[in-house]
């Protein structure tokens, strides 16, 4: 999805436009050069899953549609859905691409499939395309021509400069690193030029000043809590926390505001809540102090602290950085609600580098989350890290189709070493993915993951971010024997987010509530 370069990461949930122009990848349906209708089998072939066709069939009835039509290049129509406005659907049946205004991230969505099913059944009349459809098709044609011209010129340049290294990842870098090439929407040349950029330096200084003021306030608040003690009744009132969180949001320190709200839920939640809350107050103090001394910190650490505090980095800036090209194994996924936004975490492990990466996606009410990464697969792709060699990344260019893969695993002791090493650098992280080969074992009322080198507590409650069924699946797949797992470390223990066996990988992560996010 093209995202305007001026938007920041935290703007994403508000601006996600759903199911826009998207080519259907790598599915051979046979190119149609004229008005040849597709068969039902061809429609089924481009469906992302068999269930998608089942979901589309009830919509493939003319009473649900208006303004339908087809010509030698496209099929279009408006489908009455759950939204107030009908979904506008267009399918390029020659270039095999779909566009729909519904909130689904599935490509193609059920509306596009339903439209194609009706077309294949002869329920769509042949009529001239309306101007909006023609414009979309023309845009696609122009982009295809431009891409082919770019490809021709870059391949000839590459041939001249370095004929023997055409597949070297560095030869791809200029193309990927150009945010304009991959993220600016294609605009006709006669559109007016954008206005002059505002005074960025002044804006930045104002933001820094606001953030420093917020961090000062946070530290004063922490100081008050420590002076009056954790037994102070005001700590049990949500307003005590929420007012601070609101002020941190005003200070553009949204990440810290989220931490404060999460922490409010910990008060009184368990018998040992004082432990958890005190540790987090200490880490907040660490962040507040270091956030005000960024200039004194080493550059990488300063970048990590700034983004942890809430400093916003433009997606375009991240994507303009040097990519890490690797076979990225999608080792785990889990969803969590933060305030009114559903956040999906995909944990990726580089096969060659052994480095972890975290890819986040966001969905507000009735928006959908990223479904392009599947646990138990590997995809060769460029990943662009946020500043400071952070865990968080954006996925850039994908070089190949995903293949089935499972991450390598180690012992429990090795897992603890890996987590400890990461925490020594960034102690404020509250979740870290890692892999382990261990057996589940009962221990009193709880469970452990154990091997000859040691054990770690296995969290199974939803309150800890664990899927209620994850323990059952780990037990069933392991049958009491060691099994390969992706887990998320938390200060209280580990949460199993995926199990990898000879049968395949099973995604055990929490799933967003279907009534909140749009599933398809």
């Amino acid at each position: 999805m093209p995202v305007p370069a001026h938007l920041t990461v935290t703007d994403l949930p508000r601006v996600v436009e759903r199911c826009d122009t998207a080519s259907v990848p790598s599915i051979e349906v046979g190119e149609s050069s004229g008005n040849d209708r597709w068969s039902v089998e061809q429609v089924e072939a481009i469906a992302p899953a068999p269930a998608a066709v089942s979901a589309a069939r009830p919509l493939a009835t003319p009473t649900r549609w208006s303004g339908t039509g087809a010509d030698h290049r496209a099929v279009w129509g408006a489908c009455r859905g759950s939204g107030a406005e009908p979904y506008e659907v267009v399918v390029d049946h020659v270039g095999v691409a779909t566009r729909c205004t519904c909130p689904s991230r599935r490509v193609p969505c059920k509306h596009a499939l339903a439209l194609l099913l009706m077309w294949s059944n002869g329920q769509i009349p042949d009529v001239p395309a309306p101007s909006s459809v023609e414009a979309w098709i023309d845009g696609r044609r122009q982009r295809a021509d431009a891409a082919s011209a770019r490809s021709d010129s870059s391949s000839s340049a590459s041939d001249v400069a370095e004929p023997s290294s055409a597949s070297d990842a560095t030869t791809d870098r200029p193309e990927t690193a150009d945010p304009g090439a991959s993220h600016e929407p294609d605009l006709p040349p006669d559109l007016p030029q954008p206005p002059e950029p505002p005074d960025r330096t002044r804006e930045r200084d104002e933001r820094v000043a606001r953030m420093h003021a917020g961090l000062d306030e946070l530290d004063r608040w922490l100081d008050d809590r420590i002076r009056t003690g954790l037994a102070d009744p005001s700590l049990a009132r949500y307003a005590t926390w929420d007012q601070l969180a609101a002020r941190l949001v005003d200070a553009r320190a949204g990440s810290l505001a989220n931490r404060i709200r999460r922490l409010a839920g910990e008060v009184g939640a368990r018998p040992d809540w004082h432990d958890t809350v005190l540790a987090e107050l200490g880490l907040l103090h660490l962040l507040a102090r270091s956030g005000r001394r960024l200039a004194d910190l080493p550059p990488d650490l300063a970048d990590v602290v700034a983004t942890t505090v809430g400093w916003q980095v433009k997606q375009a800036d991240v994507l303009a950085g040097v990519p890490e090209t690797d076979d990225w194994i999608v080792a785990g996924r889990t969803d969590a609600r933060e305030d009114r936004i559903e956040v999906r975490r995909h944990w990726l492990l580089g096969r060659e580098t052994g480095r972890w990466a975290l890819v986040l996606s966001f969905a507000a009410y009735q928006q959908s989350l990223d479904t392009s990464l599947t646990v138990g697969t590997s995809v060769r792709a460029d990943l662009h890290r946020y500043p400071g060699a952070a865990l968080r990344c954006l996925v850039g260019r994908r070089h190949d189709e995903p293949t089935v893969a499972a991450p390598p695993t180690g012992t429990v002791a090795e897992m603890c070493d890996a987590v400890g090493s990461r925490l020594a650098v960034t102690p404020w992280l509250d979740r870290i993915a890692t892999t382990v080969r261990a057996a589940p074992a009962q221990h009193g009322d709880g469970w452990l993951l154990t091997d000859a080198t040691g054990s770690v507590p296995l969290l199974v409650d939803r309150a800890d971010g664990a899927h209620a069924d994850s323990l059952d699946t780990v037990l069933a797949v392991s049958a009491g024997q060691p099994v390969d797992l992706t887990v998320e470390w938390t200060p209280r223990g580990v949460v199993a987010v995926a199990v990898h066996s000879s049968i395949g990988s099973i995604d055990l992560g929490l799933r967003a509530d279907d009534s909140f996010v749009s599933a398809a």
Binding site: S54, D223, M415, D472, I503
Partner: protein
């Protein structure tokens, strides 16, 4: 070192409960004390926060495993092959889109010598906790692993008494209500003609939405050999005809059932 850090942490928690207005932070020496020495100020609350931050960081970075635990005894062996991955995927599709086919999926699995995959076992057990026959069918299909899992996780046991389950019911498909005249029509010797007539009735609306449930039951129990012809006839229903949406639904069911039975071809 670790014991010292843990002791310090306990002192810090006690102090934090009371608050630094009532009790000064503990005096810390050694590496941890050195770590916070440069940030120590006259304010006891700031000194306390610096100590908490340092102690938390050290404890997390020094993460150590607990001692090894006794492993859980494994279940007894089951030599049956695990059903193919495509059949597992089909079960998921059937349970969400065509639950009327689930009994046949499990019965066919048992008849053809497959073992239910461990990956789907917890979901299948949980799904049928309130249905003794279906739950027992899942237990038989998964073998000793199911009994072992239920022992460890009593939440997966059935809420109904299992003693009442008739063993014959485990391998018998439950009857679905279908009007006899429909069964008779579709059971004629000339299958092509019978399915064409059925599709004609759907197309004309003689068999309409009011008959949807019994038609689904009919397709779910029709002789599997007739399924391809049923799907073909229903696909041929005129697109603008009133019965077209129903025909599409029934055609999808016929195809899904045909594929399901094909994917569970007998294990060698």
């Amino acid at each position: 070192m670790s014991a010292t850090v843990d002791d310090t942490w306990r002192d810090l928690v006690t102090g934090a409960l009371l608050g630094t207005d009532r009790r000064d932070p503990p005096a810390v020496e050694g590496p941890l004390g050195d770590l916070v020495a440069d940030s120590a100020t006259d304010s006891s609350s700031e000194r306390m926060l610096a100590l908490v931050a340092a102690c938390t960081s050290v404890r997390r970075a020094g993460l150590r495993p607990l001692p090894p635990a006794a492993p859980t005894a494994p279940p007894s062996d089951d030599q049956r092959p695990v059903c193919p991955a495509v059949a597992i995927e089909r079960w998921r599709h059937v349970t969400t889109s065509w639950p009327v086919l689930e009994d046949e999926w499990t019965v066919t699995l048992l008849e053809r010598g497959w073992k239910m995959s461990p990956t789907m076992l917890p979901a299948a057990l949980r799904r049928h906790r309130r249905d003794a026959v279906r739950h027992a069918r899942v237990v038989v299909a998964a073998g000793p692993l199911a009994e072992w899992l239920i022992d460890l996780r009593p939440e997966l046991a059935t809420t109904r008494p299992r003693a009442t389950v008739d063993p014959a019911a485990l391998v018998t498909l439950p009857e679905l209500p279908v009007p006899p005249e429909l069964v008779e029509r579709i059971g004629r010797a000339d299958v092509d003609q019978a399915t064409a007539d059925l599709a004609g009735d759907v197309e004309s609306g003689r068999l309409g939405t009011a008959h949807r449930a019994v038609l689904i039951n009919l397709v779910a129990r029709i002789d599997p050999g007739a399924l391809p012809e049923v799907a073909r006839s229903l696909d041929a229903v005129e697109p603008m005809a009133p019965g077209h949406p129903l025909a599409s639904v029934l055609s999808d069911l016929a195809r899904v059932r045909g594929r399901m039975l094909h994917e569970l071809a007998p294990a060698d």
